[in-house]
């Protein structure tokens, strides 16, 4: 799988010789999500994945905003910053841009990332700041107790929309691709193996990686992603995206459409060589974007996996380069010389 990515995501983060386990990443704080919340599964998946990276624990930082998911940093025994609503990408940008030796994670939700913090998410992605952004998408506001979110379906009945929501939802994957993201993936809370495989690629990617995680809120929006979990249908509707592999579920396949786009057809209606082969590295984002639209509007077929993974210089690297170039051109800054610059005159 490593062929998928540029592989330098953590190249500047110091490694440890000490063998780590899940236990090392558990903080002493009691986890306080609702029983049955999808966040538990994601936390467990991340805690059991982190030892695999072999990084010095003190060089890992989790930054979050506000919302249920944003409690995440308290439960990991790393450095953590539980910030304010929507601003985690901005805070993490300052941290990652000035400390390339850190593995910086942003934990956010659909409300935090796409409503109040939409602007920061977009700009962190286009700048390609070296961040792993985990967007827990449960399509509802949990912490404020059940209002519709920017990813809730049109017409959703919630506490604040008794007659149904009027807002066309955001598609986080489409938005990320539109925002020039260099790494965009989707996974699901209930499939630890897949979730960890995506995290593996996301951490190896140098630059911003956006991972949408479908996460069940069993209190306010239970079973939102049930079709993807139900053994009776999941294999038919899940389109696994794997670089170099045909894009198909058990019964469906993605092919080029006559209109130049792509479409989903019955798998047995086409020959194997007609099925679209996934190219996550394609510099042209149009196919990745088209893939992100396949599940509109309902969950008839849902691509899961890495939509896009392209190599682009990361923001902290470019910033560090400018600093190095400045020193090469002007020498290390000399305060006395700076103050004496410009027209000076002497008295006495």
């Amino acid at each position: 799988m490593t062929e998928l990515v540029n592989g330098r995501g953590l190249s500047l983060v110091p490694k440890t010789d000490v063998k780590q386990s899940l236990k090392d990443f558990k903080s002493d704080q009691e986890v306080r999500w609702c029983p049955g919340c999808g966040d538990y599964a994601i936390l467990a998946a991340v805690q059991s994945f982190l030892p695999e990276l072999g990084l010095k624990r003190e060089n890992i930082v989790f930054v979050s905003g506000i919302g249920c998911s944003s409690r995440f940093p308290y439960y990991l025994d790393t450095y953590g910053f539980h910030s304010i609503h929507g601003r985690a990408p901005a805070i993490a940008t300052g941290l990652a841009a000035s400390r390339p030796d850190l593995s910086v994670w942003v934990i956010t939700g659909d409300g935090d990332a796409l409503s109040i913090g939409g602007n920061h998410l977009m700009h962190a992605l286009r700048r390609n700041v070296n961040l792993n952004i985990l967007l827990f998408n449960n399509r509802i506001y949990g912490l404020t107790k059940g209002q519709y979110s920017p990813t809730s379906e049109l017409g959703k009945i919630t506490k604040s929309t008794p007659m149904g929501s009027l807002d066309k939802p955001f598609n986080p994957i489409s938005l990320a691709i539109g925002a020039e993201a260099s790494f965009v993936a989707r996974t699901i809370d209930s499939d630890r193996k897949h979730l960890q495989s995506v995290l593996r690629e996301a951490t190896a990617h140098r630059g911003a990686s956006l991972v949408e995680i479908y996460q069940n809120c069993n209190i306010f929006n239970d079973n939102a992603f049930e079709q993807l979990k139900d053994p009776a249908v999941r294999d038919d509707i899940t389109l696994r995206l794997e670089h170099g592999q045909p894009i198909a579920s058990a019964s469906k396949a993605v092919v080029r459409a006559a209109n130049g786009g792509i479409e989903v057809v019955a798998r047995d209606s086409v020959s194997a060589d007609q099925i679209l082969v996934h190219d996550a590295h394609n510099p042209d984002p149009s196919v990745a974007f088209a893939l992100s639209r396949l599940d509109e509007p309902a969950f008839e077929h849902v691509p899961i996996g890495i939509f896009r993974s392209v190599d682009r210089p990361s923001y902290d690297g470019l910033m560090a380069e400018q600093l190095e170039d400045a020193v090469a051109q002007k020498g290390t800054g000399d305060l006395g010389a700076l103050l004496m610059g410009g027209d000076t005159w002497r008295i006495g």
């Binding site: 903080s27 704080q29 010095k56 624990r57 003190e58 060089n59 890992i60 930082v61 930054v63 506000i66 940093p73 308290y74 025994d77 790393t78 450095y79 953590g80 910053f81 539980h82 910030s83 304010i84 601003r87 901005a90 805070i91 993490a92 940008t93 300052g94 941290l95 990652a96 841009a97 000035s98 400390r99 030796d101 850190l102 602007n119 920061h120 977009m122 700009h123 910033m319 400018q322 600093l323 170039d325 400045a326 020193v327 051109q329 002007k330 020498g331 290390t332 800054g333 305060l335 006395g336 700076l338 103050l339 004496m340 410009g342 027209d343 000076t344 005159w345 002497r346 008295i347 006495g348």
Partner: protein, 614 residues
């Protein structure tokens, strides 16, 4: 013909023209010559918010005022002795400020029927007797410039553009300014276009020669150099001084500087300046908005940088929530507010002191923030270092309240010795501080009440911070009522306990009954007014607050020492409200919010009234 030379102790010149006429550059160059000559000086640019308002109209007028003297001066001057008016709009917009008898140098070429109509002149004021109270020098600046550049391979338009250099040459002759620096400057500025360099220099010299030969100017003036303290000087604006102060603070704190900022008038020049100094390890981040600017600065501070954000009032409003986060996470952060006229967008290029109460209280919850306010353009340097000192030592966001007047105004600055700048460094925490070898991120220094600053990358000190109330010591989430009360009071006590120098009082005879107190950029006009009072035999004491939160410990004692306390502010009495509430002193407020600095004469009158009133 030998011309008369008259000695003057000080002169105030205002260059005024269309915003495309190059008046700021003309003013800058005259200032450079004046500084080189050794006068004390103070400048005040005044420009429209529009980049290019329609040519020839009143909103398009841009001006630059320079006050220079043979003694030390404190303000850019109240009323110009000389107005250079490049067109009818410049004349009309500035005439109201000109005292009777002042000189007007008017560019007659621009006093066309159309230009006169644009500003509502029925007839040319140069030709009727409406300017009889002033000494008018009608000079066809444009055509003289074009004639002087005859023979240069230039379009008429390019030749006309050099008229500001002709004007500069004329004024340089009139006031005996040295010319070498300007010639050198023009050579450098147009290094890639030597023809333009030569043309501008020729226009400049033609202006000089015109003064010497024409009969329109029978007298030239000399202002002897001032006796300033010995040292090396340069002319500096408040924004530049503030940027240099931030770099110096980063060096003296041994922390890399990280600026997160969003462009806003009148603060953007700090971002521009800092972005030129990356070889000091300065990272400048032009964020997507004001909130991201301060957020990134706070994130960098969490990582061990000297985090700074620069803005003006509307930006502070947007940053408030993040500043609150810095208050509760107790991380160092510098928030520079270059105040401008509000509310809302207000008048972006005009000055005001109206953000004091926002700086004090403009956040949810009990969220005290220290406030430092520079008192002159060059003091922005020291104030930036002081703000950084407090931020780093006490782990707190600090508000640095500059304003548009300081930001764009300039004055000679006696350069400090780098070796004498204060060491403001504080060590990061490296070791656990708990009894059982654990790390307690909110266990405080008993003296300063500052919490440990342990940055990512430090093994064994992994910890989580955030906006939710924290338990004393551990920093774990806590909703315990008594803990919250304790933390609120402790954060307040930390800020209240910051070491700030005592308030000094200037009371030469020690027997004044009236104290005039101020803060921020009003120092110059207040001090100049106090001088006038004393010169005419009156008695007044003066004190100026550089620290607004906490206030110097002796502030109450100083206020109570005088029968009357006068407080001029460019707001509706914001500091007065604080002083009255805190010290129960019946402060007399004097307030004007016209987007302009106070005038010394105006304040002298106010002080005199207070002295004479019962």
């Amino acid at each position: 013909m030998s011309k008369q030379v008259q000695q003057l102790d000080r002169v105030i010149i205002r260059f005024a023209g269309d915003s495309g006429d190059g008046m700021q550059l003309t003013g800058d160059r005259f200032t450079a010559g004046t500084a080189e000559f050794g006068n004390d000086l103070s400048t005040l640019p005044n420009f429209p918010a529009e980049i290019r308002a329609p040519a020839g109209t009143l909103p398009g007028v841009s001006s630059f005022q320079l006050h220079f003297a043979d003694h030390d001066i404190l303000t850019p001057g109240d009323a110009p002795n000389v107005l250079v008016a490049m067109n009818p709009a410049a004349l009309k917009a500035n005439l109201g400020d000109l005292p009777r008898g002042a000189d007007i140098i008017a560019n007659t070429d621009e006093f066309t029927k159309r230009n006169l109509q644009k500003v509502g002149y029925a007839t040319s004021p140069l030709e009727d007797d409406s300017l009889s109270e002033w000494r008018v020098h009608a000079v066809p600046l444009t055509s003289l410039t074009v004639k002087a550049l005859d023979g240069f391979d230039l379009s008429k338009k390019d030749a006309e553009r050099s008229k500001n250099m002709f004007a500069l040459g004329l004024l340089s002759w009139l006031y005996h300014r040295p010319t070498e620096q300007t010639v050198k400057f023009l050579e450098q500025k147009f290094a890639k276009k030597p023809d333009l360099a030569k043309a501008n220099i020729a226009a400049f010299q033609a202006g000089w020669n015109y003064g010497e030969t024409t009969e329109s100017f029978s007298v030239s003036y000399e202002v002897k150099p001032a006796r300033l303290a010995p040292g090396v000087y340069r002319n500096i604006s408040g924004n530049q001084a503030l940027a240099y102060g931030l770099i110096a603070a980063s060096v003296q704190a041994k922390l890399p500087l990280f600026l997160g900022s969003y462009p806003i008038t009148p603060a953007s020049d700090i971002l521009h300046e800092l972005s030129k100094h990356k070889h000091f390890g300065v990272r400048t981040f032009q964020a997507e908005d004001e909130i991201a600017g301060v957020g990134a600065a706070l994130g960098a501070a969490f990582g061990g940088a000297l985090g700074v954000t620069t803005t003006s009032g509307p930006g502070v409003a947007l940053k408030a929530e993040t500043i609150g986060l810095a208050v509760t996470t107790e991380l160092p952060l510098i928030v520079v507010d270059v105040q401008r006229a509000g509310p809302s967008t207000g008048m972006p290029t005009k000055t005001e002191q109206t953000d004091l109460l926002m700086a004090m209280f403009g956040r949810n919850g009990e969220s005290p923030v220290p406030i430092v306010a520079p008192m002159s353009p060059s003091d922005c340097f020291d104030a930036a270092i002081e703000a950084a000192r407090i931020a780093v030592k006490y782990r707190t966001p600090v508000m640095l309240l500059s304003d548009g007047y300081l930001a764009n105004g300039s004055e000679p600055w006696k350069l400090p010795e780098v070796s004498e700048l204060p060491d403001i460094s504080q060590a990061f925490t490296q070791e656990p501080n708990g009894a059982d070898g654990e790390f307690l991120p909110f266990k405080r220094d008993p003296e300063t009440l500052a919490r440990p600053w342990a940055i990512p990358g430090t093994a064994g000190l992994e910890h989580r911070i955030g906006g939710i109330e924290k338990a004393d010591g551990t920093g774990n989430i806590s909703y315990d009522p008594d803990n919250h009360d304790f933390m609120v009071r402790t954060r307040a006590a930390k800020i209240a306990g910051i070491d700030v120098p005592p308030l000094e009082v200037d009371d030469p005879d020690g027997d004044a009954k009236v104290l005039v107190i101020g803060w921020g950029s009003t120092y110059g006009p207040i001090a100049a007014a106090a001088r006038r009072i004393r010169k005419s035999g009156g008695k007044v004491a003066q004190a100026h607050l550089r620290h607004l939160n906490p206030l110097p410990a002796n502030t109450g004692e100083v206020l109570k020492r005088y029968d009357k306390v006068l407080l001029p502010e460019i707001n509706l009495g914001q500091l007065a409200l604080l002083l009255r509430a805190r010290y129960l002193v019946d402060v007399i407020s004097y307030n004007r919010v016209r987007g302009l600095p106070f005038k010394a004469e105006e304040l002298a009158g106010v002080i005199q009234d207070v002295i004479e009133s019962d």
